[in-house]
Amino acid sequence: MDMLPLILATIFTAATPLLIAALGEHVVERAGVLNLGVEGMMIVGAATGFAAAVLSDSSVFGLLAGALAGMALSAVFGVLVIFFATNQVATGLALTILGLGLAGLIGQNFVGQPRGAIAAIEIPLLKDIPVLGKAIFTGDPVFYLSLVLVALVAFGLNRTRIGLLLRAVGENHTSAHSLGLPVRRLRFWAILFGGLMAGLAGAYLSLIYTRFWSPGMSAGRGWIALALVVFAAGHVWRLVLGAYLFGGITVAQLHAQAGAIALPSQLLSALPYLMTIAALLVLSLSGRKGGGAAGSLGQPFVPER
């Protein structure tokens, strides 16, 4: 079947920005911080990445600039919630609104400019594997990078000292503080990493997924990334599964429609969120408190003097 590799490739492209943004937020939430500003950081990454790529005529530079722009915005969030102990939910929502406006401003002179495609990387030998070879080993560079990042984060969180400290801070910041851990500094670094990933995911949207800039082009993907983190319930590898499942559903329902199979497309569009709710239910029924979320998630930490 010739169609399958093509479908799989479409799914991987659709899922990659979700995976990258969710990976960043996963680390942030492991450290006990809830940043609802993913959508805002993503769209600023998309605008900045596209603008930088056009000005420098380099997509690689654009991706880097987009990631850094997301990180810059997350730094604003970090300073507010960590050093001024503001409400994380309110600050995160404000960050999304700010990001959407800021992105429009950054990108205003770049609307409607087309850009060429970034070259795909074909891995010799492996790409000749039937079906999967063509789908997996002829992807774009950021697709491979996303998988490397997943491996690095999984290793970093579970097998390194810094990962252990980060999780300790997220689980119970008071105990971590009394053990002498730099709670606020560790959280700040985690937030910056989250911003870097959200920005990169945004730049992926405007430079690889669809190669132009337009305000509002993230179209709610930041929120899906947040839903993914809940769905993964603390397991990095489940993020990969979730991202490809979410991407797969979107693409599969488009295929079903094109093949004139009557499925309610509106319902299928809502499926990622329904699945997240289902995952929460399953976790709750299995008796795990908090759905696998870090113990101190969302609580501001003010060290005693």
């Binding site: 479409t10 400019q113 132009f212 993907r221 488009l254 009557a262 309610p264 497309s265």
Partner: protein
């Protein structure tokens, strides 16, 4: 005390504003203030962008006589205060350019009987509320003919936004055009349930191409479907504005919304004191729907396209010439040899030959 001084301040401000508005008529006679409300950003490169082109055309057509203002990104559900804001600040003619502004426009219009309102794509009017829309389906009939001639696989992919009558009528007109030059042509439709989601629009185009479509057309606002078609060397059409830049070698033509003549005409009526409420639904004949250049096609196809465009302009060709057979095989009720404007504006069925069902 604080509250008192606030009240006092507000009173002083109100008096001041009142004085200003009393002084205003003398000035207003010199300059007409025209306001616009947009649902999207001016830079959406589609719907709102084209309305803003119309706004600029008004300024250019009446130099020194007209002053225009716009408010962009106005959510439909929360549009009332934006519309009222324009009415309150001395705008005498206000265009509200999205379907969902219908009720808020009527509500504000009741409060400001001396302000004239124009609502795009709606169907409710008042003494000071006119409605206007465009027959985009005429353009879709033309691109249907082009696609029917140009497709090698015999399958065309259609990226749909929302299953509302305007979009359904567009699909039908497109299919009827394609079938008139290629009786065996097939059309596959994928709905993305959004006006604007470049990623999903592009994915829909890819899915349609995976299933054998070699030409892509769209009723969504971004250039993503055209871009994805170009990436695979397939052909496609532009939507709302000329999208040539996104696939110069793969674009066949674009359907362009041109509000300029209408906006200029209504502003002139206002300046001459001849404005009256009305409902206008026109297309190619009045220049509201325009076609981009016909490119990347052989001369005989170009000739068909141009002849069809000319035929629609002169009224010799109508996309919905009877008999129009619905999907269930029954002929649609018909007078005067073609469907009337009301039937087109309320279309909720596919014509015979289109596979699948209209999403509910």
């Amino acid at each position: 005390m604080l509250r008192h001084s606030f009240k006092l301040g507000a009173f002083a401000l109100a008096v001041g504003l009142g004085a200003a508005s009393l002084a205003a008529p003398a000035l207003a006679q010199e300059k007409l203030k025209v306001g616009f409300i947009y649902v999207g950003p001016v830079g959406d490169f589609g719907w709102s962008y084209q309305h803003d082109v119309g706004r600029k055309a008004i300024e250019a057509a009446f130099p020194g006589k007209v002053e225009t203002t716009f408010i962009e990104n106005v959510p439909e559900a929360d549009s009332e205060r934006s519309i009222e804001q324009l009415a309150r600040t001395g705008h005498k003619l206000i265009f509200t350019t999205s379907f969902g502004y219908m009720e808020p426009t009527l509500k504000v219009a009741k409060k400001y009987p001396n302000v004239m309102f124009e609502h795009a794509t709606g169907y409710k009017r008042d003494k000071n509320v006119a409605t206007y829309s465009a027959k985009f389906h005429e353009g879709r009939y033309i691109i249907g003919k082009i696609a029917g001639k140009m497709s090698k696989t015999g399958t065309i992919g259609y990226v749909g936004s929302m299953p509302i009558p305007e979009v359904i009528a567009g699909i039908n007109a497109f299919y009827l055009g394609a079938k008139s030059v290629n009786p065996t042509i097939k059309i596959k439709i994928a709905w993305v349930n959004a006006w604007f989601d470049p990623g999903k629009e592009g994915d829909a185009a890819k899915a349609l191409m995976d299933q054998g479509a070699d030409i892509i057309t769209q009723h969504t606002d971004s250039p993503a479907p055209l871009q994805q078609a170009a990436a695979r060397g397939n052909l496609a059409f532009g939507q709302a504005s000329d999208m040539t830049a996104f696939g110069p070698k793969n674009i066949l033509t674009s359907i362009i919304d041109d509000w300029n003549p209408y906006y200029i005409e209504r502003t002139r009526a206002m300046l001459e004191g001849k404005w009256a409420s009305q409902d206008v639904f026109d297309g190619i004949a009045k220049g509201k729907v325009k076609m981009g250049p016909y490119v990347n096609m052989p001369d005989d196809v170009k000739k068909i396209a141009m002849e069809t465009e000319e035929g629609i302009r002169t009224g010799k060709i109508d996309p919905f010439t009877c008999p129009v057979i619905a999907q269930d095989g029954k002929a649609v009720e018909c007078k005067d040899g073609k469907l009337n404007d009301g039937q087109i504006a309320g279309m909720n069925f596919y014509v015979q030959g289109i596979e699948g069902t209209v999403p509910k």
